[in-house]
């Protein structure tokens, strides 16, 4: 009935995996906020990309509305019954995801990997 050694080993292993994933995601998503880009996907298809530098409200298919302000993205309106996405933490340049499962809307922030174009000739 008492906690056994294998229970603790299991807990330690899971903690290690969680930590590793966390560090991995942080390293891969850690980006400078000025270049962070919000990508909106609906049903697995890209709906649009938006810069976090510009404050705006984006309406997504009439089902959801998200808001960019001060370099942070949050969901401000959703027509689904559970409203879980609106309770999710705001995401910013350090990466992250907000999901509205019923409407299959995914907001994710990542750094723009393409270097910005300085000039175009020709």
């Amino acid at each position: 009935m008492f906690i056994k050694r294998k229970d603790i080993l299991l807990a330690a292993a899971v903690l290690a995996v969680a930590l590793l994933c966390y560090v991995g995601f942080r390293l891969s998503a850690g980006a400078d906020p000025d270049r962070a880009v919000l990508t909106i996907t609906v049903d697995g298809e890209e709906y649009g990309t938006y810069s976090l530098a510009e404050d705006q409200q984006i309406e997504i298919n009439g089902t959801n509305t998200c808001e960019i302000s001060d370099g942070e993205v949050r969901m401000v309106q959703a027509d689904c019954p559970d409203q879980l996405c609106m309770h999710q933490k705001a995401i910013s340049g350090s990466g992250g995801t907000i999901v509205c499962l019923p409407n299959r809307v995914v907001l994710s922030v990542a750094s723009d990997s393409e270097p910005e174009v300085d000039s175009i000739t020709g």
């Binding site: 229970d7 969680a18 995801t97 499962l101």
Partner: protein, 166 residues
């Protein structure tokens, strides 16, 4: 046999009630999918008292009833995925010597969250949501552990003999 049917019906009723209580306790910590999973208490109990098949039956009845009462087809799909993986893992871990009910329940909580996350990433066709994995791993472990304490206490009082293989 009749006795067993009655007991399983009672456990399913208890699981449904726990599911209702769960639906009254909103637990928002900024990540979707984090919940206590208190109806898993009944599943863990039946798993120890009867076995895997009976636990699967109770789980399935609970999910369908709770899903139709308080959720929708969507939430049923999610619950089924989580519960199926959770039960499979719990039954597997229980067979391995050296795990107590805490370990079994923890593994179940973790597997439940992993199962739901996998379904979610297929539903939205976007694997970015695996970003939630670390939080869901740890929350599944903590909640599973708490459920393990509760189930262990229930099993010890109701049926000390099924603790032998704990």
């Amino acid at each position: 046999m009749k006795r067993k049917t009655a007991y399983l019906g009672m456990m399913a009723a208890a699981a449904i009630l726990l599911g209702y209580i769960e639906s009254l306790l909103p637990l928002y910590i900024g990540v979707p999918g984090v919940k206590l999973g208190i109806s898993n208490l009944a599943t863990v109990f039946v798993l120890y008292y009867y076995g895997t098949k009976e636990a699967a039956l109770v789980s399935a009845v609970r999910i369908l009833v709770v899903g139709f009462l308080f959720g929708n087809l969507f939430s049923i799909l999610f619950s089924l995925a989580g519960a199926a993986l959770s039960l499979l893992v719990m039954a597997g871990v229980k067979r391995i010597r050296g795990f107590s009910v805490f370990g079994v329940s923890m593994a179940g909580g973790i597997a439940h969250n992993v199962g739901q996350l996998i379904v979610a990433s297929f539903v939205v066709e976007n694997f970015y949501i695996l970003y939630y994995l670390p939080v869901l791993l740890i929350s599944g472990m903590i909640c599973g552990f708490l459920i393990g304490i509760a189930s262990g206490a229930v099993i010890r009082r109701v049926s000390p003999e099924s603790l032998k293989n704990m």
